[in-house]
């Protein structure tokens, strides 16, 4: 009699554990980004955006009946940090990773991820170096050279510039170099010329006044910034100090709130070309912004938006694979016209995406769209 009861008890316990374990085991998604360091704005916003998306999905029941869990790793904005972060996330047995936020880190981390077969979905990496390769790298940010080309075209044609200087951050070579190259090429096509190329290393706390002075000497028509928001703001401030009020065109990299907080009014009238934002935000967009602000106490930047979209896309892929890593790449490659906050996202077989390019300008502390160029085929 006793033996019977014991056995029953054991069976019930086992069943219970089994059920609960199966049901309760969350799907762990990794997030790798610069939470500290000069690009921390991207990382923090990106993380928060992903977190918000995750909380929304969990509130609706999760993915394949399982909760999502975000495992966050700081990559410090460095290549080494990126590799370490990826390694730690792989060790933590996440099913996939949202990251990195910058091209340099993505390029550095990719081999590690590739070896482990770990999907890297970057919200913001736009380096063309990772385009057209069938690997574990996916992104929802179109390749940056198209934006560079659009900017160059706009600068040449719309702004009538033909003599400009450029300042770029070497620390994010993967982004800045291709952008600069693409811009220069296009600019040349339209008869323009970059008369001065300046490079800085963001981590080394560049002397922005010196940079501003250097610009003064040449006296270009405009300056091209390929800098982070903070650096752009700092340089803008410096230029104002030096009494330079040149038009500034910039890569989309600097299009975060940080620009405003760090730059204040000095960043007015900077022109960007990027894949960001429309003039009239959609309802989803407004809702997102509201939620984000309520949740985190500040307005979201593009990093937050992209990361938000990225996590949703990832969740969609995982839904198809029932929360498993197996077949995730195929699932992601099949994403067609996912309604992103900014534009519908389609990922191709190489993990790349395409989208329209917006030419925006800072006006009264806001990014306003000047021009929209729809996505081109073969970009």
């Amino acid at each position: 009699m006793r033996a019977w009861a014991l056995r029953l008890f054991a069976v019930l316990m086992a069943a219970f554990l089994l059920v609960t374990a199966c049901g309760q085991r969350p799907v762990r998604i990794g997030f790798a980004g610069p939470l500290t360091g000069p690009y921390s704005d991207l990382g923090v916003h990106g993380r928060n955006g992903a977190q918000l998306a995750l909380e929304e999905i969990n509130a609706l029941g999760g993915v394949a009946g399982r909760r999502l869990e975000l495992v966050v790793q700081d990559d410090g904005g460095t290549e080494d940090g990126a590799v370490e972060a990826i390694a730690k996330l792989i060790q933590a047995r996440v099913v996939s990773i949202i990251g990195h936020m910058t091209s340099a880190q993505s390029i550095a981390a990719l081999p590690v991820a590739q070896e482990a077969g770990m999907i890297l979905l970057s919200p913001t990496t736009s380096t063309p170096e990772l385009s057209g390769i069938k690997d574990v790298f996916f992104r929802i940010q179109p390749s940056t050279d198209t934006a560079a080309m659009v900017l160059a075209e706009y600068a040449a044609l719309d702004m009538g510039l033909d003599r400009i200087a450029s300042v770029r951050d070497e620390a994010n070579q993967g982004y800045s170099a291709p952008f600069h190259h693409a811009f220069a090429q296009e600019f040349q096509v339209h008869g323009g010329d970059i008369v001065l190329e300046l490079t800085v290393k963001s981590r080394d706390y560049p002397d922005w006044l010196k940079v501003a002075e250097a610009l003064n000497k040449i006296d270009p028509q405009a300056v091209l910034f390929i800098l982070s928001a903070r650096d752009a703001a700092a340089l803008a401030q410096a230029m104002h100090l030096k009494g330079q009020f040149l038009p500034v065109i910039s890569s989309g990299w600097a299009m975060t709130d940080e620009l405003f907080t760090a730059g204040g009014r000095t960043v007015e009238k900077i022109i960007f070309a990027g894949h960001t934002f429309r003039q009239k935000p959609s309802e989803a967009y407004s809702r997102f912004e509201q939620h984000y602000r309520e949740r985190f106490g500040h307005w979201p930047s593009f990093a937050a938006r992209y990361a938000y979209d990225a996590l949703h896309v990832m969740a969609l892929g995982l839904e198809r694979t029932q929360g498993s890593r197996n077949g995730l790449a195929e699932a992601l490659s099949k994403i067609r016209d996912y309604p992103g906050l900014d534009w519908p996202i389609t990922i191709d077989a190489y993990g790349d995406t395409f989208g329209p390019i917006f030419v925006t300008m800072v006006r009264d502390g806001q990014f306003t769209t000047l021009k929209k160029i729809p996505k081109r085929q073969g970009q």
Binding site: L35, G264, R265
Partner: protein, 870 residues
Amino acid sequence: MTPLSLSTLLRRYLALRMLLPGVLLVLVVAALLGWHRWLEVQRAQNQQALLVSEYVAIYLRFSSEVVNMLVAVDPELGFSQVTASYREHSQAFERIILLSDHGAVLQAYPPVGTLLDYSRLLPDRQTESHRASKISSPYMAPLSNNLTVSLFSHRLDGRLVVGELNLLTLQNFIAGLGYDTQGKLVFITDRFGNVLAHPDRTVVDQQANLGDLVPVSRALRGATGFLGVHAMQDSRYLFSASPVRGGEWFVFTAWNAQKQFFGVLVMLALFVITLHVLLLIAVRLLRRKLELEVSGPLQLFAQAMDRLEHGEERNGKKSLPLSAPFRELDLLQSRFLDMTTAIEQRERELRQSEERFRDLAGALPESVFEMNLYCVLTYVNQKILSRFGYTRKDVSSGLNLMDLAVVKERKMLFKHAEKVVRDEQMGPLEFTALTKDGRTFPAQLHCAAILVQGLPYGVRGFIIDMTHTIEEQGQRLAMERQMLHTQKLESLGVLAGGIAHDFNNLLAAIQGNLDLALMTVPKDSTGYARIRQADSAVRRASELTRQMLAYSGKGRLQVQHVDLSEFVRENLAMLQAVISKTVTLDLRLEEGLPLISADFGQLQQVVMNLITNASEAMNTQPGTMTVSTLARECDALFLSRSRILEKPDPGRYVMLEVRDTGTGIDERTMERLFDPFYTTKFTGRGLGLAAVQGIVQGHGGAIIVESEPGRGTLFQVLFPVTRDIVATFEHSSAEEELPEAFQVSDQPQGMVLVVDDEVMVRELCVEALEFLGYQSMTAVDGEDGVRVFREYQEHISCVILDLTMPKMNGVAALQAMRSIRPDVKIILCSGYNEQEATRNFLNDAPTAFLKKPFAVKELSTLLKRMMGKD
């Protein structure tokens, strides 16, 4: 499966009974302790949160006061000094900035470098506040990687004094008091969950937002105090929250649940261990006690019972302790002792009964056995072992009843036993017993079921060896047959004798008359020749009757003393005439043989018959006949082989042996060899050997026959040696002498009384007597004869007395006459031979004997002798 010991059972019972309450107790205690600790933790944690939040509030207030104070300072006059001086003594603020109303940086300590525009910083970060100073949400301080929060206050002239708090002090404070070995930590967030201070610096550096934690979100929504147990960093923590007054911050305390209750668990564990140990000790002690008082005595009791089982009653009783430790055992023991006594008594009685049986069974001359229902022998007496050749070991290895019978009859035996067991009344069973070495003997089985309380338990019985019985039976049967046979022969003999006797009388009459006629008739007359022929014929006829009488043992004997060897030699010619040409005669006649008393004629018959038989036995092929004579001593054993029923006494005998090498005699023929009218010869009458037997018997001898078919036959005829020699007479030749015409006296010779019941014999005698010159008287029978004798005894000189007469036979008449006149001369006249006839006269013997038929000359001679004796 053997049952467990009582001691084990009790201990297990106790353990279980103590265990369950023990477990319950532990659970109750655990619950109580846990509950107590829970409340304690809640209280303490909440306390901590309150204290910290109080501190933070003070910190904020103080910082605000500084900002407010700086606001009051004239910016042109003393702002920078005051600020610089302040910053030298206090690290509370990272930077103090004076901004224009547009947000442009006017003064900054330490300087901000190129950062001139703070305009975007503050409006976005503004939080609602009713106080003079406002507080911003956290942001990365420009030019440093530190998280900071600005306290700012508007001056009357519209300028702003901004103090960027050095949150590191808060950080250090938190780190200092928060994370200790007990797993407690304190952290501070803004109203969005952005971490402002955390024991782990990186959490702050990474601008972490903990709004996803349940307790944090609850606190942000207004819950305060103890917020329950939640997971954080893969552990479970107890959370409490307390809002910071005047800042819209929240202080959280998180205590590691495991570590908080660890102490409780340890205590519980100790308690459980102690309980368990106490339980073990108790059970151990109980075990000792149980062994001493229960198991031990019970085992002793069991041993005593075991001894009883093995028959050691006394030892069993002795091994019990005097008193039992508990009542039930005491009762058991006393009953056990009673039982033991009763068993002892019964055993004794049983043994006695057993001994009686064994003695009886051992003494019986028959095989006694007992077997179980499987027919396996459980007891056998010595007779069975000796008769069947088995050993005790054979029996104990499972010998069964069927083994004692031949294979063919085993089933029958089994069925018989079965019926016996089923209580069917069964008589004895005849079967063929089989000994161990394969010999068989006839046996008879008697058995009956052994019943125990009315139910069959086995079979008990005995086996009788029927060998002797059957032999005896066989012998008896043989003897009976023999007797019948002999009786038959005797009766035949009597018959033959009777006929021969009567016939003889007639012949006597014929012969007498013919004699007389021959005397009276002239010799040269034709009648004379015819009478002579008739006379010869009558003589031959009387020879035949003599043979018959001889066979019957009653023939007339002319006893003479004979040397057998001489006899054979003298009769050789005659003998050889009988022997066939192909037979070789081998004579071995011993010289100087003792004389025997024998009748010549009869002896001739014997010899003739034997030789004839021997010769005819060799008629198919040449052979040798050996005729031997010898004298020998014969003992009873030898004489017992005689074919004559009456065996002669042991002594000296003369033996005639006739051996042939002929066909021999088979067993069947041997049996009937001396039967009258039994013959193997085609032309035989079957009287030959019968006559021989009769003759030899009459001579008081013996005949022994040995034969083997194909080998030949040996006849041994024994004649007793004569004791007293009587004067020998000259033997007469074969041919009878003619009766001479002899002189008849004229003188009256005397009176002779003739007593005979046969009228012709009487008349013949009278005539003969007359012829011879005697006077005669007659009587018709014994009675008449005695009467006449009595009357005329003075005149009667001699009596001729017949033996066989009605009314009074010759024996009685003689006795009567002798009693009248003892010296009277009586001639016994009979057809029987002398020996036979005179046998019956015990005391008084007749003076002489005359055999019928007799010649007148014989009568004359005898009478002369009789008279001459006067």
